[in-house]
């Protein structure tokens, strides 16, 4: 429920701040309301007691000495400003009235209620036509039948409540400010470490495998999280280096027996006079070479995917590199009835592993040559965008199906245009991607608007000297 409370972009400091603010304001308001209501209730009963008390006193004075005594009391002064005293005859004619300005203007009843026994008192609340103060009035029938009225406004009570309410608001404000302290704690011990972790994670995503989460001064849970995460990363690191050495071991363990088999087969090939046997041996030799390449491709792909591939970086001029590849592939393309064009407008020096880059582009060219029907056209092009270079191979072949576009980069996936005669095991593009990845680059493909497929590898191409110094 709370998750839907804020738009997605509102940062958590704001969320927490707003929630705390609302809660503190709400609870302060609730306190004040409840306290005000309770005070009003208590002050009301006190006021009733005061009125009854005073009524009783005035009744005693009157009963003892009549109206004169009352008049004397008032003549002596010291009468409170918010209290009124009246004495009326049973029929309502006023005998005495002492009403200060603050209590003026109330509509007193004319007669005491019927059946009110002498010396019994009755209370009633009178409203002022214009003012908000109420008058609590009491009446008592005196011994001679006249009626004594005593009234007291709640102005003082109200002022009292107002004072307390003001003090409560002040206390609420102070406590609100104090409640913002957890917010500061949250920012320092939770949010800031989380931000630092985000930064490290971003570095990880960008490929710096040494980055680790750091959470100094963070809450214990975050520190535990960072530790668990870092342990995981360390484990991945050790797996990567294990993989690297496993690759070396596997390569060695597999290559040496292959070398023994190949050697014997070659000797057999050279020494047999039987044409069929020689032919079989030749096929065997080809198969062994293919198997060796396959093992190497798988190992290189695995290492590249995990950035565990050792690159031999050198400063290379791309115009020349692509020109050489174009020249290498041109005869093979022509033999297949294809036109191979080179579209490299400018020279560009970059830092990369020449053999690995050649291998990646060669794989793209292999594919283009295999999938483009006779009479078609394949282009090897270079596009330079600021600090990136994109090496593009596009063709006039059948293009890629929607499934191809997403799946074609996976190992052992071959394009939908593949036929039984198309060579390859579907490892080529996985290798291309792994090699691009090893260079901190990427690989991609799309269908061209003008028809045919386009594959590319994009490599970082900052200042090669600066990059070389950084290595």
């Amino acid at each position: 429920m709370l998750s839907k409370l804020f738009p997605d972009r509102v940062p958590s400091t704001w969320r927490l701040g707003i929630m705390l603010g609302v809660l503190v304001t709400g609870s302060t308001a609730l306190c004040i309301t409840v306290a005000g209501w309770a005070m009003k209730r208590d002050l009301g009963s006190i006021a009733r007691a005061v009125v009854l008390d005073d009524l009783g006193e005035y009744a005693v004075l009157y009963n003892r000495n009549g109206l004169k005594e009352i008049k004397d009391v008032f003549a002596a002064g010291g009468h409170e400003n918010d209290q009124a005293v009246r004495i009326t005859q049973p029929d309502g004619i006023v005998l005495f009235e002492m009403i200060p300005a603050a209590v003026d203007g109330y509509d007193w009843p004319e007669q005491a209620p019927d059946g009110l026994n002498p010396s019994a008192a009755m209370l009633t609340t009178l409203l002022h036509p214009t003012k908000s103060q109420e008058l609590l009035a009491g009446c008592q029938v005196l011994r001679d039948g006249n009626v004594l009225w005593f009234g007291r406004t709640d102005a003082e009570d109200r002022a009292y409540v107002e004072h307390i309410r003001g003090d409560l608001w002040l206390a609420g404000l102070v406590s609100s400010v104090l409640m913002l302290l957890p917010l500061g704690w949250f920012v320092r011990q939770v949010l800031t470490p989380v931000r630092a972790m985000m930064q490290s994670t971003r570095q990880l995503a960008e490929g710096s495998i040494d980055a680790r989460l750091v959470a100094p001064g963070a809450v214990p849970e975050l520190q535990a999280f960072a530790k668990a995460f870092n342990d995981g990363l360390d484990r991945i690191d050790s797996l990567t280096s294990e993989l690297q050495s496993a690759n070396d071991i596997l390569a060695h363990e597999l290559r040496t027996p292959l070398a023994r088999i190949r050697g014997n087969l070659e000797t057999f090939h050279d020494h047999t006079d039987n044409t069929a046997a020689r032919e079989s041996a030749a096929r065997g030799l080809e198969e062994i070479d293919r198997a060796t390449d396959l093992v190497q491709t798988i190992l290189t792909t695995r290492a590249g995917e995990h950035r565990a591939l050792k690159l031999h970086l050198e400063i290379v001029e791309l115009h020349a590199l692509l020109g050489d590849l174009h020249e290498l592939y041109k005869p093979a393309a022509e033999e297949r009835g294809l036109r191979l064009d080179l579209d490299v407008p400018e020279q560009r020096w970059v830092l990369l592993d020449r053999q690995r880059t050649n291998q990646a582009i060669a794989n793209l060219l292999d594919n283009a040559l295999a999938y483009t029907p006779r009479g078609g056209r394949v282009t090897l092009a270079l596009r330079v965008h600021d600090d990136k270079v994109r090496i593009v191979v596009h063709d006039s072949g059948p293009g890629l199906s929607p499934t191809d576009l997403t799946k074609i980069w996976q190992r052992h996936t071959r394009g939908s245009a593949a036929t039984a005669n198309t060579p390859g095991m579907g490892l080529g593009l996985a290798l291309v991607r792994a090699l691009a990845h090893a260079h901190h680059g990427s690989a991609g493909c799309r269908n061209r608007d003008e028809g045919g497929a386009e594959f590319w590898i994009e490599l970082p191409a900052g200042d090669p000297l600066a990059s070389a110094n950084g290595v």
């Binding site: 290559r255 292959l258 070398a259 023994r260 032919e279 030749a282 070479d289 794989n363 060219l365």
Partner: protein
């Protein structure tokens, strides 16, 4: 050539020894680096074939110690690791060439001969090199007869030169890719085959046997005089 073969895999050492013998070379086998260093001091060798993964020390260390003791004999590394970084490490340690397992006999021999030629200040090339009826013109990079001229593209010329330098020997696709195009992997498309066909069309005389033989499973060989 008198060769020192340092290889701990006995089967591979046996095969290689036999190939070297068949090719007219003599060889001494050692299965560890320490023995190899001792042998080097006792007998003059023309080249050393050195496995990188030896039981007592790796091949790089053997070469470093060889060089430190003043042996300048050319070294060809044999290794199961196929990547440029290891290749560069081998060459930096003082090796002269690098061959990955599994390898073809012809490639081993071609590389050994190239090393041998290099260390013995190869004899000056004959003033006139010929392929069939063609005379090579190295300055203009073209082929001539009395009344015909063919221009060769730079790579075609390099290919012809590499083939001619190893005339009569079968050269593997891998070897040609490395020497002619500086490519150390095998592209899926048979680019070498296409280039050989193109060169063949240029140098062969119709109606005569081809100068350029393709040997299935092994490679290509040039016969200057068919």
């Amino acid at each position: 050539m008198n060769l020192l073969l340092v290889e701990d895999d006995t089967e591979l050492a046996r095969q290689t020894g036999r190939w070297l013998h068949d090719a007219g070379h003599t060889s001494t086998h050692s299965d560890c680096g320490a023995v190899a260093l001792r042998l080097l001091a006792q007998e003059p060798f023309d080249a050393v074939i050195l496995d990188v993964g030896l039981p007592d020390m790796d091949g790089y260390t053997v070469v470093e110690q060889m060089r430190a003791r003043g042996f300048g004999v050319p070294v060809l590394f044999l290794t199961a690791r196929d990547n440029v970084t290891d290749r560069v490490r081998g060459l930096r340690a003082g090796g002269d060439d690098y061959l990955t397992k599994p390898f073809a006999m012809e490639e081993l021999l071609a590389r050994l001969e190239a090393l041998h030629r290099r260390s013995n200040q190869a004899p000056p090339q004959p003033a006139q090199r010929m392929v069939g009826r063609w005379t090579l013109d190295p300055l203009k990079r073209r082929l001539r007869t009395e009344n015909e001229v063919i221009d060769l593209q730079p790579r075609e010329w390099t290919l012809l030169e590499v083939l001619l330098a190893n005339e009569g020997h079968i050269l593997t696709k891998k070897f040609l890719l490395e020497k002619v195009w500086d490519i150390q992997f095998d592209p899926g498309t048979n680019v070498v085959d296409a280039m050989i066909c193109r060169l063949r069309r240029k140098i062969d005389t119709p109606g005569h046997p081809s100068h350029l033989q393709t040997v299935r499973g092994k490679g290509y060989a040039l016969q200057a005089l068919p």
